[in-house]
């Protein structure tokens, strides 16, 4: 079963923008983000509105950096973690652009990247802004407990990043730092993990599945990539992925395997297993990883976004946690 799309045209990454919260702004990747928010609210009355504002500002900043007037954005593909995609939908209301709301949990950014490339490659859209966001406070209250409740988190738990990232794609002929050449569609994979505080374990099999599919379809392996970046497996999930790939006969090059979530925070910041959330892979790709591509330290990058497709209802009804992962291959000149 072929899962990989081979794009016929050059889909250029024209520009990128990222915005993170105060805690992420004290992490090891702080210097790569465009904006570090001074607080969690951005002057808005609620965290949900603040997250929506993050999406709006990041999309506009991305278009501006790409020299594109906001009214010329031909489609925005965005998603977040909140019920009914509140952050993205309400940001799109302010933007007034054609809009696709996507839900792939934390894989949303890469899902959008693949679909945006499809729209441009097919000639249906001139450009596309792919964006995703998450906010620690909005995710906590929807999926877990009130912020002020005095509970402890297990070591495998991850910290939802307050972050947003946006990437502008187009088919213009001018040179760009990177081009999207392939996209691999994920399958929903469930290895019967039921612990909702261990997302890395729930998602690692899906990531392994998508990477295997990508390698098979493109006849590539680790040697063909300078970096393979996973979204938010955290450091425990990253080790699980490594084991799963080795079990399937892949020669894993440990130095080329990078996890955005595992690198977003310092251990002293107490993120437990690492960062997570839609904004994690989005901001790190649009901030740090694209910087590496611009500097030509990385010429060919596979970014694999992974999501845990659980809901509070599925969790209460005792369902296990299905995972999904999408992959996009970015290449420099």
């Amino acid at each position: 079963m072929n899962q990989t799309l081979f794009f016929k045209n050059r889909i250029a990454v024209r520009s990128r923008a990222s915005m993170v919260g105060p805690k992420e702004g004290k992490g090891p990747l702080a210097e790569y983000f465009d904006v570090i928010m001074p607080d969690d609210l951005l002057g808005k009355p609620s965290w949900e509105q603040a997250e929506s504002e993050m999406v709006r500002r990041t999309v506009l900043m991305c278009a501006e950096k790409g020299g594109l007037p906001a009214e010329s954005i031909s489609v925005v593909l965005a998603g977040d973690l909140l019920n009914q995609l509140m952050s993205s939908g309400f940001a799109a209301r302010e933007l007034g652009t054609p809009f696709f709301g996507l839900y792939g949990a934390c894989s949303t950014f890469v899902e959008g990247l693949v679909l945006g490339s499809v729209l441009i490659d097919g000639g249906y859209r001139e450009n596309a802004v792919c964006a995703a966001s998450s906010h620690f406070c909005t995710a906590e209250r929807q999926f877990r407990f009130p912020l002020e409740l005095g509970t402890q988190r297990p070591p495998a738990a991850q910290w939802t990043a307050t972050a947003a990232g946006a990437m502008l794609l187009d088919a213009r002929k001018e040179n760009a730092p990177a081009y999207v050449t392939h996209g691999t569609i994920g399958r929903v994979i469930d290895y019967q993990i039921t612990d909702a505080s261990h997302m890395g374990a729930a998602m690692a099999p899906a990531v392994a599945d998508t990477i295997m599919a990508h390698f098979q379809d493109t006849k590539r392996d680790f040697r063909d990539y300078d970096l393979i970046a996973t979204g938010d497996l955290g450091w425990i999930g990253r080790n699980l992925l490594k084991e799963l790939l080795i079990q399937r006969g892949v020669k894993v090059d440990d130095e080329k395997l990078f996890d955005c979530g595992a690198n977003l925070f310092y251990q002293e910041q107490d993120p437990h297993a690492g960062g997570s959330g839609c904004g994690c892979v989005a901001s790190v790709t649009c901030g740090y990883l694209m910087k590496l591509m611009e500097q030509r330290d990385v010429r060919r990058l596979l970014v694999v976004g992974s999501g845990a497709m659980l809901s509070t209802t599925s969790q209460q009804q005792g369902e296990s946690i299905p995972g999904i992962a999408y992959a996009a291959c970015l290449e420099g000149e």
Binding site: S46, E148, L149, G150, A156, I193, I236, E243
Partner: protein
């Protein structure tokens, strides 16, 4: 056959996850829970003694005073954003005493204030403590019936 192979695959993965996931540091958890929880109880005992000795309260009034003061302290520390830090450190040590119960009611009240006084605070106030209340009251009724029946028989 297919199903058995799948089950085996999941079991093997489960073992892999267990092997690569670090466990909680239980000993450290016990020590922290013991001293913080113990300290809260000592404070409670001092309030009770103070009520009896200085304010001339009866035993029942002094324990009432203790509850009221501890709930006030738990709620205030929640409002100041301190209790969640204590909870992260002490775990059960600060969840089990009555101050933890106050925290479980005050924290949703703060969290859902933005959804309004009725559908926010009103509806979500007992979101955490609701189950404790429901089963606490149900078991107290059961104990009451047993007590009453036992009194009839013996």
């Amino acid at each position: 056959m297919q199903n058995k192979r799948e089950q085996k695959k999941y079991r093997q993965y489960d073992q892999l996850v267990k092997r690569l996931t670090p466990g909680s540091n239980y000993l450290q958890g016990y020590v922290r829970a013991f001293w913080v929880g113990g300290l809260i109880c000592v404070i409670g005992q001092l309030i009770s003694i103070a009520g009896e000795e200085w304010l001339g309260m009866t035993d029942a009034s002094a324990s009432m005073l203790t509850s009221v003061v501890l709930i006030f302290l738990g709620t205030t520390l929640t409002g100041l954003g301190v209790y969640d830090d204590i909870g992260r450190y002490a775990g059960a040590g600060s969840i089990v005493p009555i101050t933890g119960f106050a925290n479980s009611i005050a924290s949703p009240a703060i969290e859902f204030r933005r959804e309004g006084l009725v559908l926010g605070v009103g509806a979500k106030l007992f979101a955490i403590s609701g189950p404790v209340l429901v089963y606490g009251i149900v078991s107290s009724i059961a104990v009451g019936i047993i007590y009453w029946l036992a009194g009839r028989i013996f």
